[in-house]
């Protein structure tokens, strides 16, 4: 490949508010089509918009998380175009004065860490949802007017891996912020990719294609890979890439031309006259800043301070619910590493194997903490713990399980010593073998002590004491 790839991404994300961006109708996609609408969402004559304060709060949270500069004077503009999914004939957006600008976010790929600059974050309203069937086109206005934020990067990414890392990182962050459910497959988060190629070392950007409405991380990857190949072929054969808007066609795994730049719509943006500029109260902004939920990066750094590896910390924060669970467990115990192991390995495996949604996780964080403490106190062995864990997944108290199954480890030194003495007395040959340097004899004798204790003797303790006693003989 002779070319450097330059990628910028626009993420559209539906906000998880109770009501719409500019009307009091409920936001709920699951309900019957066209039930969560009112005259405002339907664009009836005479309606006026009222700004949803909770949506502004969500946008502010996102701005803080992406380290943006905040414009405390909120202004909206009209974007004019005719389409059946846009009942007013214009969309209310923030073209001229976005709420946030000049932000940044750090991503990590196998090539290392990289900072992606955020150009802007702005608020707008979603359009209605269209369904094209054989009998005709159907429009569901439940989605019309849903609050959206759009996050636009600078052209700072140079391959599909970075693009994916960025999308996943932002998605996870928005999820932690509780501003969106971020379900790409359901359309609550969509990506537009701007991609162009240029010879390495060239200062100027090449001509870009915009790929619209990508609804999965995998499609982001496929469309970028396809575009790189398509554009380099054109360039290598001496052609020129045409500036155009394209879409990704899943069936052919290729990008398809939607419209060329020359046919671009003039949206005739102008300030929305029905919403005066809103000066955000400094105290309110401060309150939102101070009550910002903990972000994945912050949690990760807490975890590494706990002594977890980068790898383990990453796995924990990857899924907010898993991280939440972990945090709950470690309010009951300081065995951070051991808890992480049980959460990452056993719990995740169990949920996967039984196809249980993390939201329906039957494991009690407190029980897991108790069990981990028992392991640490050598009251039960690791092997026993696995049995206890299975029972805990049925909601059982680990203390009960241990008691019922008679698992309690013998850690009483005098009791263990008595067992050791009687085992040694019964096996003089093994003592002889030990003296002759046959280490295997120790294993045999520990096994005998364990057997005599019905498996309840603490194996480590037994081993240590047994060797001491052998030396005395």
């Amino acid at each position: 490949m002779n070319f450097e790839t330059v990628i910028g991404i626009e993420i559209h994300c539906e906000l998880k508010t109770n009501t719409k961006m500019f009307s009091g109708a409920a936001v709920d996609f699951a309900s019957e089509p066209n039930t969560n609408t009112n005259e405002i969402d339907l664009g009836m004559p005479g309606i006026l918009p009222s700004v949803n304060k909770e949506a502004v709060a969500s946008a502010l949270r996102t701005c803080y998380a992406l380290e943006c500069e905040i414009d405390p004077l909120i202004k909206f503009d009209r974007k004019n175009y005719y389409y059946s999914d846009l009942p007013k004939g214009f969309q209310i957006t923030q073209q001229f004065y976005p709420i946030g600008s000049h932000g940044k976010i750090q991503i990590e790929t196998e090539l290392g860490k990289k900072e992606i600059r955020i150009n802007r974050i702005h608020m707008e309203e979603d359009t209605a949802k269209q369904l094209h069937q054989i009998e005709g086109s159907f429009i569901n206005f439940n989605r019309a007017g849903t609050p959206l934020i759009e996050i636009v990067t600078e052209p700072d990414m140079s391959n599909a891996k970075e693009a994916i890392a960025y999308v996943e990182k932002v998605r996870n962050m928005l999820y932690y912020l509780n501003v969106s459910d971020c379900k790409m497959e359901e359309g609550s988060m969509r990506c537009d990719i701007n991609i162009s190629l240029r010879p390495y070392g060239y200062p100027e950007l090449g001509v870009k294609s915009e790929i619209k409405n990508l609804n999965s991380v995998s499609n982001v990857q496929k469309s970028i890979e396809f575009e790189i190949e398509r554009q380099s072929k054109i360039l290598l054969s001496g052609g020129q890439v045409e500036q155009a808007t394209r879409r990704f066609d899943e069936a052919s795994r290729s990008t398809v031309l939607m419209r060329k730049k020359e046919g671009a719509v003039d949206y005739k943006y102008f300030p929305e006259p029905n919403i005066f500029p809103i000066r955000l109260d400094a105290n309110w902004i401060e309150k939102i800043k101070n009550t910002l939920p903990e972000l994945p990066s912050e949690r990760k750094s807490t975890y590494t301070q706990y002594g977890l590896s980068d790898y383990d910390a990453d796995i924990l924060v990857q899924t907010k619910e898993v991280s939440d669970f972990y945090n709950e467990v470690v309010t009951h115990t300081k065995e951070y590493k051991l808890v992480a192991n049980w959460v990452i390995v056993e719990m995740m495996a169990f949920l996967n194997k039984n196809n249980i949604d993390i939201h329906k996780n039957p494991l009690s964080p407190q029980y897991l903490a108790i069990m981990v403490e028992m392991i640490q106190a050598k009251e039960i062995s690791g092997k026993q713990a696995k049995i206890v864990f299975e029972e805990m997944m049925n909601g059982k108290d680990p203390r009960k399980v241990v008691e019922e199954k008679g698992m309690k480890q013998l850690s009483d030194t005098s009791a263990i010593l008595t067992l050791i003495q009687s085992v040694l007395d019964a096996n003089p040959q093994s003592i002889e073998d030990f003296k002759n340097g046959k280490d295997r004899a120790v294993g045999f004798l520990v096994g005998q002590v364990m057997k005599a204790s019905k498996g309840q003797a603490n194996p480590a303790m037994t081993n240590k004491m047994l060797v001491e006693e052998l030396k005395k003989r």
Binding site: G43, G46, L48, S50, N80, K268, F270, P273
Partner: protein, 473 residues
């Protein structure tokens, strides 16, 4: 007819009489789009506020005021079958106050015009001389009040659309401060200039009506939280010490000596009563710039505001091969050529290549004009001028297309009230050849009290109160 005339009659009789008068006047005035039956409304009066000045009063609404279940056409063909699913905020307020709607009145299509010649139901005639225009765009409402059909009618005022027909029809027309009356549910013309206004036959009725209509509405973010004052209780015609400014640019542009003589007489009498009357002059270029600036801004906003009128979800739909064709056909047939012309002009000034030199420039000019007006207004209680330089013109006169200085200034100065949002009203000044001409009073933002008080003083000087044409010709 005034509020007291109604109070002395049985409500049902009064309202039925009023409806009959409206029907009887239709052949003469052509002012009504829809008649509304009163029986049910009168029955529902028992749970309404009997202390309201509008209790049991028959009223007329301009046909751009949304009325649930009742045709609201805004005198446009495209809406000639449109029945709203909701009530405008003022419709609700008037119902609560016990007002009885007897008719929806004709207007210039979508509020675009100053003549009421451009309504899909045909032109509205002036009650004093049916060969002359009523003025517009609230011509139907003005004509019905002037005819003596109702003592109160709602109008809207984007560029003097209440005050100019009030002047031509010899009644009181009020446009309060921008944000004083909710615009929710009013089919708009140009949102930043649109005001709800109204007509009465005397200043006292005008002052009490505002108490019913004014107030914050959460559905209109531009509506004000300022307290609604007791305008009728505070009504006081004592002008001693009041500072009154004469806008000389207007007076100099008026050629009719009957009008200038009457104006001077009123001013001299106000002086004798202790008012401080001074001449003020706005920059002449600004005065001449009012109309072109208005034309650019109002049509730009209008082209977006009316993008929802596409025949797809409501209104008259013309068939077409696809969605775009349906929209084009519906809009082409649904609007008059004058309205289409205005959309083209509005769209042209918002076009990305023209915005800077047209739309944005017009916004700047508006600001400069308002800044100068504010400087003057701050030194006075009110600014006064003749509402018009002539009596109501004949339909074949150049109504509105005239770019002479006298027309630009004398006939368009009331735009100052729309540009600034300052409260402004017109009341009868003098009869010229049996045709009325008004005088306008403008005050500081939210200082309707001074506006009404000085208007009351003028009304006492002219004696032109409660003048209606009557129904016997």
């Amino acid at each position: 007819m005034n509020f007291n005339d109604v109070k002395n009659k049985d409500i049902k009789t009064a309202c039925e009489e009023s409806l009959s008068l409206a029907k009887a006047s239709q052949a003469k005035l052509n002012a009504v789009v829809s008649f509304v039956e009163v029986e049910q409304q009168v029955k529902e009066l028992s749970n309404k506020n009997a202390n309201s000045p509008l209790f049991g009063v028959p009223i007329v609404l301009k046909d751009n005021v949304s009325t649930k279940g009742i045709l609201t056409s805004a005198s446009s063909r495209i809406l000639s079958n449109y029945i709203p699913i909701y009530d405008a905020t003022i419709t609700k307020k008037l119902k609560e106050a016990g007002a009885i709607v007897i008719a929806k009145s004709s207007m210039d299509e979508l509020g675009m015009g100053g003549t009421n010649l451009n309504a899909y139901t045909g032109k509205v005639n002036n009650p004093y001389d049916v060969n002359r225009i009523s003025g517009g765009s609230s011509g139907g409402s003005a004509a019905l009040v002037a005819q003596g059909v109702v003592p109160f009618a709602i109008g809207t005022d984007t560029g003097d659309s209440v005050r100019k027909p009030a002047s031509y029809c010899g009644i009181v027309g009020v446009k309060p401060t921008y944000g004083r009356i909710s615009r929710y549910g009013i089919i708009p013309y140009a949102s930043s200039l649109d005001h709800v206004g109204y007509f009465t036959t005397n200043v006292s009725d005008a002052s009490s009506a505002l108490e019913v209509l004014a107030g914050r509405d959460d559905l209109d973010m531009t509506s004000s939280n300022q307290e609604v004052q007791a305008y009728s209780k505070l009504l006081d015609s004592n002008v001693a010490g009041k500072k009154i400014a004469i806008l000389v640019n207007v007076q100099e542009a008026i050629e009719d000596t009957t009008i200038t003589n009457s104006f001077n007489h009123i001013m001299n009498t106000l002086k004798e009563k202790g008012a401080i009357v001074e001449e003020v002059r706005m920059n002449d270029d600004y005065m001449k710039a009012l109309l072109p600036t208005y034309y650019v801004l109002s049509n730009a906003e209008a082209t977006a505001n009316h993008s929802n009128l596409d025949g797809v979800r409501f209104g008259v739909r013309e068939e077409g091969a696809d969605l775009v064709e349906i929209m084009i056909n519906s809009r082409t047939k649904g609007f008059s050529s004058d309205v289409r012309k205005r959309f083209v002009i509005g769209s042209y000034s918002l076009h990305v290549d023209n915005q800077e030199k047209l739309y944005k420039k017009a916004q700047k000019v508006r600001r400069v004009i308002v800044d100068e007006l504010k400087t003057i207004m701050n030194k006075y209680d009110v600014i006064v001028a003749s509402s018009s330089g002539t009596i109501a013109p004949l339909p074949n006169q150049k109504c509105g297309e005239d770019l002479s200085v006298s027309h630009l200034v004398a006939e368009n100065h009331m735009l100052l009230g729309n540009f600034s949002g300052f409260p402004s009203m017109s009341l009868p000044q003098v009869m010229v050849n049996k045709m009325p001409v008004g005088i306008s009073v403008m005050a500081k933002a939210f200082d309707e009290v001074n506006m009404f008080n000085i208007a009351k003083a003028i009304e006492e000087i002219t004696g032109l109160e409660n003048i209606v044409v009557g129904g016997d010709e």
